[in-house]
């Protein structure tokens, strides 16, 4: 069975790629994922804001209380140099993974400043990543900010990074755009090598007893795949960029659906966190079995076969409420 696919210009042996998650923090886990058949690995995200914050935090707390009191000029010994201040641990992990596994390693970056995007994209490339996924998101809280401004931010980030690095760049998007297809097209034109649909966000909850906001993230379910499915179907054929389905990919069926609406890869994290690396093997086995049973020859064969452009009843993709499906008149 030919499960091969192409994503971000990379030839992959199959469409199953573990997405950005803590799984990539352990070399052993990544090795196991590879052994069980994962075609590539997306690293956990590097957050510029966190790096900057930790730098300031270290500076502030090592300085706190110094030179204030005769008996204690300082409270900590200070090493001549610090390590891992600017993501060395992350970059080392990329290097280590590149040494340990043969599958492509895709970096993941969340920047907050132009300088940050440039600096860390370059470093990730230098560390040997085969591609880079930009984990871009803005939660706009300023009511005066227009949709256009925000879309422009995405474009700017992409352009900034593209200028710096040669490796393929994918953008992981949120579904919250007025016209996602338009944004996707603009990003595509600006040189995005791939679009990853969709980012899952921490969503705030309320602790009623403490009257506290408690952000958190639950593992996904297959149901959540439906949102990416719709938008992949709509985008398929409108962009040159590779497409990745993520959020809610748990089973071989989910993978098949993702391929059929036009994705090049199906990314999973929750299912692997829950079931372990061996789950990749199971999905691949099920995938192959289904394809055999249904007499498919290759993944390529089914790619986009159920996209908006190709399905018999495209209206189903745009139906958003209980209104009856209107059959075509002509």
């Amino acid at each position: 069975m030919n499960l091969k696919t192409k994503y971000l210009g990379l030839d992959l042996k199959n469409p199953i790629v573990p997405s950005a998650s803590p799984l990539s923090a352990s070399v052993d886990t990544v090795k196991a994922l590879e052994d069980h058949g994962a075609a590539a690995i997306v690293m956990y995200s590097l957050f510029e804001e966190q790096i900057t914050h930790e730098m300031h935090e270290l500076d502030a707390f090592l300085t706190q209380g110094t030179d204030s009191y005769s008996e204690a000029m300082s409270y900590f010994p200070e090493p001549d140099e610090f390590k891992n201040l600017e993501a060395e641990e992350y970059l080392d992990q990329i290097r280590l993974l590149k040494k340990t596994v043969d599958i492509p390693v895709i970096g993941s970056l969340n920047g907050v400043s132009k300088g940050g995007w440039m600096e860390y994209a370059k470093k990730i490339e230098e560390a040997g990543a085969d591609a880079l996924e930009l984990n871009v998101y803005y939660i706009p809280t300023d009511p005066s900010q227009t949709a256009q401004t925000i879309e422009q931010l995405y474009l700017d980030d992409l352009k900034t990074v593209k200028q710096q690095v040669q490796i393929p760049i994918a953008l992981k998007l949120s579904p919250y755009f007025n016209n996602l297809a338009n944004v996707a097209q603009k990003l595509d034109q600006a040189g995005a090598d791939g679009l990853v649909l969709f980012n899952r966000f921490y969503q705030p909850d309320i602790d009623l007893e403490k009257l506290d906001v408690t952000p958190g993230l639950e593992l996904s379910t297959s149901y959540e795949l439906r949102l990416p499915l719709r938008w992949l179907a709509i985008l398929y054929g409108h962009v040159k960029a590779s497409l990745a389905a993520t959020s809610g990919v748990h089973t071989a069926e989910d993978v098949l659906k993702a391929m059929m609406v036009g994705a090049d890869v199906a990314m999973m994290a929750s299912a692997l966190i829950k079931n372990g690396p061996e789950h990749v093997g199971k999905v691949l086995k099920d995938l192959t079995a289904w394809m055999e049973e249904h007499e498919y020859e290759s993944i390529e064969q089914m790619k986009g076969s159920m996209s908006f452009k190709k399905v018999a009843e495209p209206a189903a993709f745009i139906r958003a409420n209980y209104m009856k499906t209107l059959q075509s008149i002509y």
């Binding site: 300031h56 500076d59 209380g65 010994p77 403490k210």
Partner: protein, 1189 residues
């Protein structure tokens, strides 16, 4: 060869050489010598090697006694070994020093000389400690300046190896140990040339070695001990010559030529001053100044004090010498003179007896004391001493530098005399500890010292409080070497980094006419003049000062620097002082920033660069008007209603005029009145808590956690409110137990608050309309100051609720008890003080406290004002600090006396039963006093008894009257930190636990030596970075509670207020009630943990919930009931230890140094937390029913 010039302090100079020429270093932290050990440890941790290419092994011991033992052992085993210490630490080394010297062992101890604790502890410099070891057989060598510290460290090592006499190399604590100076750094080749490897091998050969066995350290008897003692004479006779030989050799290599005694001044001097230490530099500066004017004066600097070479001494003095003043920086009470003076007199007398004096006649010799505890010693004082020598009958046994109006020893000095050169830039900078002023100035010195051909000197004066503490930096720069070892008296540049100082102190007093004044002002340049106090305006006008302002906090805020204005003020200084051309200065500042912050990441560097650039645009020169117009006056240091002593003495200290207090104003025996912090309104908080009475649930959690006792609740009869100030807040007291019409108020002492926000964090109430608000919220202090001060005063006058009607074992009610520990000098957000305060609420009126030296003795007993207070009846904790190491024993002594007194009182009372009356006598003798009301009743009965006794005349009655108070139960508390309890005082603590006596030990466990700056103790947990554990402590924390429980009859509780305040209150009550030894080990968050301490209580909760800090109570009384004595007050750990650890820099910084080690530490800590849970829960489940069979 040109050597590198470095700007370093004395401690670094000494340890730099010591680390290069030793193999083993055993130390223990003590101010002001701690940095020597810390440097050595850091250098070894970084792999820096000594001149033989190996990394010296540095070991932190449990006490100086331990360090000297380890040094002795290491020496006996043949290693080149050293140690660093001071003061009490040196005293603890004395026994080993006799041994080391007796065995003719080569070593050099480096000592930053410091006062000894007598009537009071002092961390500052004098020679009292060194003089206390002058008979150990150690050679004593004094360095007077930073350059000499480096040079003599090497010369002493060369001399000890050749002479086999051990050396103590000392320099003045703080003045030299902490002064930063530009010096020439010795090279490794210099050291190799000075140290003879043959002698090193000879030293090694003398070592204990089973391949060539011998015994050393025998026990000798009357037949030979004496002769044995005399065997060392040849070595001591030879030693001075060997030292001089080493000095000569050094001169050949390095160029600087020292002698055992170095004379400076007029070649035909008639009047000579003799001294050693940093004061000799000032003496040199003064005599050279006077000699240049033709005065025949000189100074003799003593380098090698022991062995004292009379020949070298006599030949060093000019033959023209007619009179001599010997200055000792020590006091030997009861002696016929201070040590150096006696040596000089003796030397002259011996030579005179041999008819070998080179002088025309026997010189007049007087001796005097100066500079105790870093008391200033200025050119004016040197001149006063020299002037005294001109008198027909100069005063002997004088003092200089103080006003002694009791025994009239002091000499007067002319304060207007100055040797200050116009070629020297003298800058004074007033800042806050937290604003980074000192750091910036240290940086400036480095820039000027290392990047220009100027000489540079910096000295820094700190506050006695740890919150809102003021710093004064004294910087000198000039083309010629600087010998001024005294504070700046005439500043040609003066900067005030905090506007509020202008209202409190006479900041411009030291400004020199025509100088420059730089002010950090929150007001725009066109308004600032009118905001200045009148005194400041007048001084600016009269002294014709050039006046500049900058709003540094605005720049800091805009550039992300927070409260740190260091870089900004430093830029302003360079921009206007003209020390360097402006552009060059800016470039050098940026270079220094890159050097200092580069390792912390480019973001930090850029932030500072930006601050430099922004600073220049915000700096403005103010056109000074011709007339002072301000109506603002200086705020008096204490209010007019303060007690006499406070107005008379304390206020002078607060106003920084303590130097002016004469001897008669000081208590003769170190006894001071309680409750003085209330008079020092420090106003250090920018924001203070404000109470929302409408939503408060009156849980009083804010009050129990407040480190400074500034937030207090009261319940009272509502009628009192008739006279309340208009803004005084109150609400109906919640709960059905209060009498009808009773009201509740929560009042904040805004002038005493440090703004730590612990109270806000711990408040459990959220405003239902706006969940960002709690029942207490922070608000700006200044607008509240006046009204809230009045409210506080009103609040204090509301009567306390009857103690006997409160349930002391609840958090809520415990907070209605009056705290008798208030407004201490502890850090904002301190984790220790809430426990102490709670103990004073519960037992304060019958509490005697033994306090180990450390943070708690400093914020508890450092002048000018002290926090231990008393109630309206005049009762309160009686507090004393003995030493660091002996605190448990000291407290046990209290108990022994109290028990003895009580026993004796009972005996007298029994004997006087008929006279006193059977009913009262029996009631007193049979009283139980287990609970507070019973103690109250007993106190009433004892008052009755005292009334009766006052009317009786028998000796028994009088005796009983003096002992009657002991019939009321007293509560003995032994308080200290983990450095004391786990390390230096553990032997004593263990003995006291084993004594079975009724004492209460409170261990304030910050898991490091907090007071001396965060050195590792045995309480330091796995994975925490501390000094001497620079890469994180790999071992587990010592389980002190488990050790104490092993006795079986000791009450043990491990507590953490932030995790369970109820458990804390109960444990304290149970411990106190238990009639035997009790120990409370209290988790105390600390500035040395590295996070914003407003989260201190949250961290405590995480520590307990993760199992890192188990909380439990072990009550031996339960055993008698057949119950398991151990009760766990925490549950099986539910959250990973990482959730606790990585909120604190002490743990988290390992991830920025060695990520894989960090992971290992977390794993170890996790395993240990889980193991502890299993172990403790197993113990807590054991069946004790067999006990009652």
């Amino acid at each position: 060869m040109k050597r590198k010039m470095v700007t370093i302090d004395g401690n670094e100079a000494a340890s730099y050489v010591a680390h290069k020429i030793n193999e083993v270093i055993a130390i223990y932290p003590i101010t002001p010598s701690s940095p020597m050990g810390e440097h050595s440890d850091e250098w070894s941790a970084k792999g820096q090697k000594n001149i033989w290419g190996t990394i010296p092994r540095v070991t932190e011991m449990q006490s100086e006694g331990g360090a000297s033992g380890a040094v002795h052992g290491a020496l006996q085993a043949g290693a080149l070994t050293t140690t660093f210490t001071a003061s009490q630490g040196l005293l603890l080394m004395i026994p080993n020093m006799y041994k080391i010297a007796g065995e003719l062992t080569s070593t050099v101890f480096h000592v930053s000389a410091r006062s000894l604790a007598a009537q009071a502890l002092s961390i500052f410099g004098d020679h009292t400690d060194v003089m206390a070891v002058r008979n150990t057989g150690f050679a004593l060598m004094a360095s007077n300046s930073i350059q000499e510290v480096m040079d003599f460290a090497l010369i002493a090592q060369a001399a000890t190896l050749e002479s086999r006499v051990p050396f103590l190399h000392f320099f003045d604590g703080f003045r030299t140990s902490h002064e930063i100076m530009k010096v020439e750094q010795l090279t490794l080749d210099d050291m190799r040339s000075m140290i003879d490897d043959e002698l090193v091998m000879a030293h090694r050969k003398r070592a204990l070695n089973p391949d060539n066995p011998f015994i050393r350290g025998t026990s000798q008897n009357p037949d030979v001990y004496f002769q044995g003692r005399e065997t060392v004479n040849p070595y001591y006779i030879a030693a001075p010559g060997i030292v001089q030989k080493a000095m000569d050799k050094f001169a050949g290599i390095v160029g600087r030529h020292y002698h055992l005694f170095d004379y400076v001044g007029h070649p035909q001097a008639e009047r000579v001053i003799i001294l050693m230490g940093s004061g000799a530099e000032t003496a040199q500066e003064t005599v050279e100044y006077l000699a240049a004017k033709g005065e025949k004066v000189g100074a003799l600097k003593v380098r090698l004090y022991r062995p004292f070479s009379i020949d070298h001494f006599i030949s060093s003095l000019p033959k023209t010498t007619q009179s001599i003043a010997v200055l000792d920086r020590t006091k030997e009470v009861g002696a016929s003179g201070e040590p150096l003076y006696l040596d000089v007199v003796n030397a002259l007398a011996e030579k005179a007896a041999e008819n070998a004096l080179p002088f025309s006649s026997f010189p007049t010799v007087i001796g005097g004391r100066y500079g105790l505890s870093s008391k200033e010693f200025t050119p004016a004082m040197v001149k006063a001493v020299l002037d005294e020598l001109s008198k027909d009958r100069p005063k002997n046994h004088f003092t200089i530098g103080i006003i002694d109006d009791v025994t009239h020893t002091s000499l007067e000095w002319d304060k207007s005399f100055s040797t200050a050169s116009p070629d020297v830039v003298r800058g004074m900078f007033y800042g806050l500890g937290a604003d980074g002023t000192v750091g910036a100035n240290k940086n400036s010195i480095k820039i000027i010292g290392e990047e220009t051909d100027n000489y540079a000197q910096g000295y820094f004066v700190y506050d006695s409080k740890k919150s809102g503490s003021m710093t004064i930096s004294h910087l000198r720069f000039g083309k010629a070497p600087i010998h001024s070892t005294y504070l700046i008296e005439r500043a040609n540049f003066l900067a005030c980094h905090q506007f509020v100082f202008l209202e409190k102190f006479d900041i411009l007093e030291k400004a020199q006419e025509g100088g420059t004044f730089l002010l950090n002002s929150p007001y725009p340049e066109n308004e600032v003049w009118d905001k200045l106090p009148r005194r400041v305006q007048e001084e600016i006008i009269n002294k014709k000062l050039k006046f500049y302002v900058i709003d540094a906090y605005k720049v800091a805020k805009e550039t992300g620097m927070g409260a740190r204005i260091n870089t900004i003020m430093q830029t302003a200084f360079f921009a206007i002082s003209g020390v360097l051309p402006r552009d060059e200065a800016i470039a050098k500042i940026k270079g220094a920033i890159q050097k200092t912050y580069g390792k912390k990441g480019d973001k930090i560097v850029q932030m500072n660069f930006n601050a430099v650039d922004q600073a220049l645009g915000h700096l403005h020169q103010i056109q000074v008007p011709e007339k002072a117009t301000s109506t603002i006056d200086l705020i008096p240091p204490v209010p007019s209603n303060a007690p006499d002593f406070v107005r008379d003495v304390t206020a002078t200290l607060i106003a920084m005029k303590g130097d002016e207090l004469p001897v008669s104003k000081m208590p003769a025996d170190g006894t001071f009145p309680s409750a003085t912090t209330q008079w020092e309104k420090r106003n250090v908080a920018l924001e203070v808590p404000v109470w929302d009475e409408d939503i408060c649930i009156q849980c009083n959690k804010c009050a129990i956690v407040c480190p400074h006792a500034v937030i207090r609740p009261k319940v009272y009869d509502g009628k009192i409110l008739e006279n309340a100030p208009a803004t005084f807040k109150s609400t109906k007291a919640r709960g059905k137990d209060w009498p009808e019409g009773y009201m509740y108020s929560l009042q904040v002492a805004v002038e005493d608050c440090t703004g730590c926000e612990l109270c806000v964090e711990v408040c459990p109430v959220t405003n239902k309309q706006d969940t960002s608000k709690k029942a207490i919220n922070m608000a700006e202090q200044i607008p509240l100051r006046e009204t809230e001060s009045k409210n506080w005063e009103f609040f204090l006058n509301i009567p306390e609720y009857d103690r006997n009607k409160l349930r002391h074992d609840t958090v809520k009610d415990s907070q209605y008890l009056e705290p008798l520990f208030e407004f201490s000098g502890a850090c904002p957000g301190c984790g220790e003080t809430p426990y102490i305060k709670l103990a004073t609420q519960l037992f304060g009126d019958r509490m005697v406290v033994a306090n180990a030296t450390g943070c708690s003795s400093i914020y508890g007993g450092n002048l000018p004002t002290t926090p231990w207070a008393k109630n309206k009846e005049g009762r309160g904790p009686a507090w004393s600090n003995s030493l660091f190491e002996d605190n448990a024993e000291f407290g046990l002594g209290f108990r022994l006396t109290i028990d003895k007194h009580q026993e004796q009182a009972r005996e007298f009372l029994t004997a006087l039963r008929n006279e006193v009356g059977a009913e009262l006598t029996d009631a007193i003798l049979n009283s139980n006093q287990r609970e507070e009301p019973e103690i109250f009743e007993q106190r009433q009965r004892v008052e009755q008894l005292k009334d009766k006794l006052k009317k009786m005349n028998s000796p028994e009655a009088k005796n009983l009257l003096s002992l009657a108070d002991y019939l009321v139960k007293k509560s003995v508390w032994i308080i200290g930190g983990d450095g004391w309890a786990y390390d230096i005082g553990y032997g004593g603590l263990d003995h006291v636990l084993a004594s079975g006596r009724n004492v209460n030990i409170l261990v304030l466990d910050t898991e490091v030596y907090s007071n001396t700056g965060g050195q590792m103790s045995k309480a330091t947990p796995t994975g925490a970075v501390a000094k001497f554990a620079a890469s994180g402590k790999p071992l587990y924390k010592k389980d002190l509670g488990m050790l104490a429980m092993a006795y079986g009859n000791v009450y043990v509780a491990q507590i953490a207020m932030g995790a369970s305040d109820t458990q804390t209150v109960r444990a304290m009550l149970e411990a106190e009630k238990y009639d035997g030894p009790s120990i409370l080990i209290a988790y105390s968050h600390c500035i040395a943990h590295g996070y914003n301490l407003k989260y201190g209580m949250d961290q405590q909760k995480l520590a307990v919930n993760s199992g890192i800090w188990p909380i439990y109570r072990y009550n031996p009384e339960l055993i008698k009931e057949g119950k398991n004595p151990l009760h766990l007050d925490y549950k099986e750990p539910k959250i990973p230890v990482q959730d606790f650890m990585y909120n604190e820099t002490r743990f988290k910084m390992v991830t920025k140094m060695n990520p894989s080690a960090a992971k290992k530490f977390v794993r170890l800590a996790q395993e240990h937390a889980e193991f502890n849970w299993k172990r403790y829960s197993h113990l807590a489940q054991m069946d004790y029913s067999f006990e009652v069979k």
